[in-house]
């Protein structure tokens, strides 16, 4: 799967999680760009992404995520 394909799946997850059909994210998107992306939402997003791609992030990875792109970089290496 290409980075773009992963991004599009991740975007679907964001749409569900924030319950906003019009939400569009990019590799550079960070928590401060999306209203409601707090630590609880972070926990939800991680869980949904893990479920979707059948992989797990370890703690360092979760802590180290800077934006959507760095999240996708990790996913790419696991699938």
């Amino acid at each position: 799967m290409s980075k773009e394909e992963v991004l599009s799946k991740v975007n679907e997850i964001f749409t569900d999680a924030f319950d906003r059909e019009d939400l569009v994210i990019g590799f550079e998107t960070t928590a401060s760009d999306v209203e409601g992306w707090d630590s609880l939402m972070q926990m939800n997003l991680i869980e949904m992404i893990e479920d979707e791609f059948g992989m797990r992030f370890d703690m360092d990875e979760v802590v180290g995520m800077e934006n959507v792109g760095s999240m996708i970089d990790i996913i790419i290496t696991r699938i």
Binding site: D16, L40, N44, E47, D51, M59, V63
Partner: protein, 594 residues
């Protein structure tokens, strides 16, 4: 809504949470409740899941959450938020992470005993405080097993082991639950073990999010708590309707013959069905009504049920429908005969086509996925359809009573005159006030009765006790026996006195005794009460719901005059008691109050 059935579809429950909530919130006539969640860990996600499970059960809950980890402080010292919230139910969400001190390897047995008393004392003081302040049901987690066993296997039996300590603490919680019946344990220990303890205790979730278990397990905890809540509010399923061939035995009795079906201990497949029959029989023992809905000739169905190795016998079922009619039609008839709504039913059939037609034609019937016989018990047992929060003598005798009802409706046909039929029932009514032994049953009735219920006032046991003690209220209840059975406590009337007027705040009757004249007996008793208090006027109220239209003219038939009705059809009715014409019910009456 399959994601709510076992095994839970946690992926969808998370991903589509917002959509699910929106859809379920659109249902009409939901029960509104306020639930305080006092947490020893993060509770936000749990509350969101609990919210959708309760909506699924028809309960629209509003939540209060304590600040992170403040469960004990909120309970012991109070918080403005919690006090103002005035919860209907309190859920204390704690886990082994909230145990203050664990035994150390150098501790003596006395040290550990003292430690145990102190830890338990902390919780007990909290529960007592909550009871004193809020008088509402409290749901408390027991403790899950800790994340490691320092001594390996020894950890569970040595008094210094954390596993042993947790197990002893849990026993103390259970003793408290035994002695305080408005107190319920949410069995976190079972949920965690059933889920898989290592994954449950994945420490990332605690250290990063202060969440007591892995996220994927949260919907299971929510389901368990929701089961307790819905059971307290009378929203359990009541009846289990079973297919026969390949559901209660292996094979097809019409084709294979009585010799050919698999039941009994000889072959392993037979053992599976025997165990399932035995599980159903035990459900019957806790008050679940059993019925058969099978495409079969009646003679074959009965032959199968009389199989010498079978556990269930024809008498265990209140009704046996063995015919070639569509199964949804049979189920609807069973529901009508028992005067229960179809939403009280669980339908069990191995055939996906039959399950499909029943769930499509009769929304509200629970239709679990019964894929293979060896999973039947597991699926039913994980569903929580029949979660037991109170177990009254009435529950245990339920099949007898419904049997009596079925017999009575058959007997009815042979009498020309209805009064003669009623006389033949040799009924005796006992009118009483709210004796302590009745409190539990009365609270149960106020939460379960939907059809013959004029105001649908739902009460907890504490509400009932308050009215019982107050001199502003006159509280009556009635028990009815007949030649077939003791129907138990079946009707409750609560009246508020204001100067020389009685206001009927609650009038309900179990549909089990519909058309017996029990309501006439109660009205006579109420008017006698009014005379005793020199009250001249009684005012009755009718608040319509989707289920109680059968009583919309009740007060009119009792001789009241309608004086008010608003646009929602809420009506108010008056009776001048000097014009009351006493009813003549066909029963003996004992007024135990005088």
């Amino acid at each position: 809504m399959d994601y709510f059935n076992y095994p839970l579809d946690t992926k969808t429950l998370y991903r589509k949470k917002a959509k699910i909530r929106r859809e379920l919130s659109a249902q009409s006539s939901m029960l509104k409740k306020k639930i305080a969640v006092l947490g020893g860990s993060t509770t936000n996600e749990l509350v969101e899941q609990l919210n959708i499970f309760l909506l699924y059960y028809g309960i629209d809950a509003e939540f209060y959450q304590s600040e992170y980890g403040q469960y004990w402080q909120d309970a012991m010292f109070g918080s403005k938020g919690l006090d103002q919230f005035a919860p209907d139910i309190i859920y204390v969400h704690t886990s082994w992470r909230n145990i203050d001190v664990f035994p150390e390897i150098n501790d003596t047995m006395d040290d550990v005993d003292a430690m145990l008393e102190s830890e338990y004392g902390k919780f007990r003081a909290m529960w007592e405080k909550l009871e004193e302040k809020f008088h509402c049901p409290v749901i408390q987690n027991n403790f899950d097993r800790p994340n490691y066993r320092l001594m390996g296997n020894r950890d569970i039996w040595d008094y210094r082991g954390r596993s042993n300590y947790v197990s002893r603490l849990n026993q103390k919680f259970y003793e408290y639950a035994q002695n305080n019946h408005n107190f319920y344990i949410n069995d976190l220990e079972y949920i965690s073990q059933d889920y898989g303890l290592s994954e449950w205790n994945h420490s990332l979730y605690w250290h990063m999010y202060k969440c007591a278990m892995c996220m994927d397990a949260i919907p299971y905890v929510a389901q368990s708590v929701a089961n307790i809540v819905k059971s307290i509010y009378g929203k359990n399923k009541k009846a289990l309707v079973l297919d026969l061939d390949n559901t209660l035995w292996g094979g097809i009795v019409g084709d294979d013959g009585i010799e050919g079906i698999k039941i009994g201990m000889e072959v392993s497949k037979g053992q599976v069905f025997t165990e399932f029959q035995s599980y159903c029989k035990k459900l019957k023992d806790i008050g679940v009504i059993l019925a058969i809905d099978s495409k079969n000739e009646m003679a074959n169905a009965l032959a199968g049920l009389n199989h010498p190795d079978g556990v269930l016998k024809p008498d265990d079922f209140v009704d046996i429908k063995a015919n070639w009619n569509p199964k949804d039609q049979n189920l609807k008839e069973i529901a009508d005969e028992l005067t229960l709504g179809v939403d009280s039913f669980v339908f069990v059939d191995d055939n996906p086509a039959e399950r499909e037609i029943v769930s499509a034609q009769l929304p509200g019937v629970a239709v679990p996925l019964m894929d293979t016989a060896e999973n039947y018990i597991k699926v039913l047992d994980h569903s929580g359809y029949f979660e037991v929060t109170s177990l009254s003598a009435e529950d245990i005798k339920k099949t007898d009573m419904y049997h009596a009802k079925a017999k009575a409706s058959k007997a009815e046909a042979t009498f020309a005159d209805y009064g003669e039929y009623l006389d033949s029932l040799r009924m005796t009514a006992y009118i009483d006030d709210f004796k302590t032994v009745y409190i539990q049953r009365i609270a149960q009735l106020t939460n379960k009765s939907n059809q013959f219920n004029l105001t649908t006032l739902r009460c907890t046991e504490d509400d009932i006790k308050i009215m019982q003690k107050s001199s502003d209220y006159v509280c009556l209840c009635g028990r009815l026996t007949d030649k077939f059975a003791d129907n138990g406590l079946v009707t409750v009337v609560i009246v508020q006195k204001a100067e020389d007027i009685f206001h009927i705040r609650l009038w309900l009757m179990s549909c089990r005794v519909l058309k017996r004249g029990m309501e006439d007996t109660m009205m006579n008793a109420l008017v006698e009460e009014a005379q005793r208090y020199s009250v001249s006027k009684i005012i009755g109220y009718y608040y319509p719901t989707v289920k109680n239209s059968m009583v919309k003219d009740f007060y009119g038939m009792m001789g009241f005059v309608k004086v008010k009705e608003d646009e929602d059809k809420n009506s108010e009715w008056e009776l001048d008691i000097s014009h009351y014409d006493p009813k003549k019910p066909h029963m003996q009456i004992y007024n135990c109050r005088v």
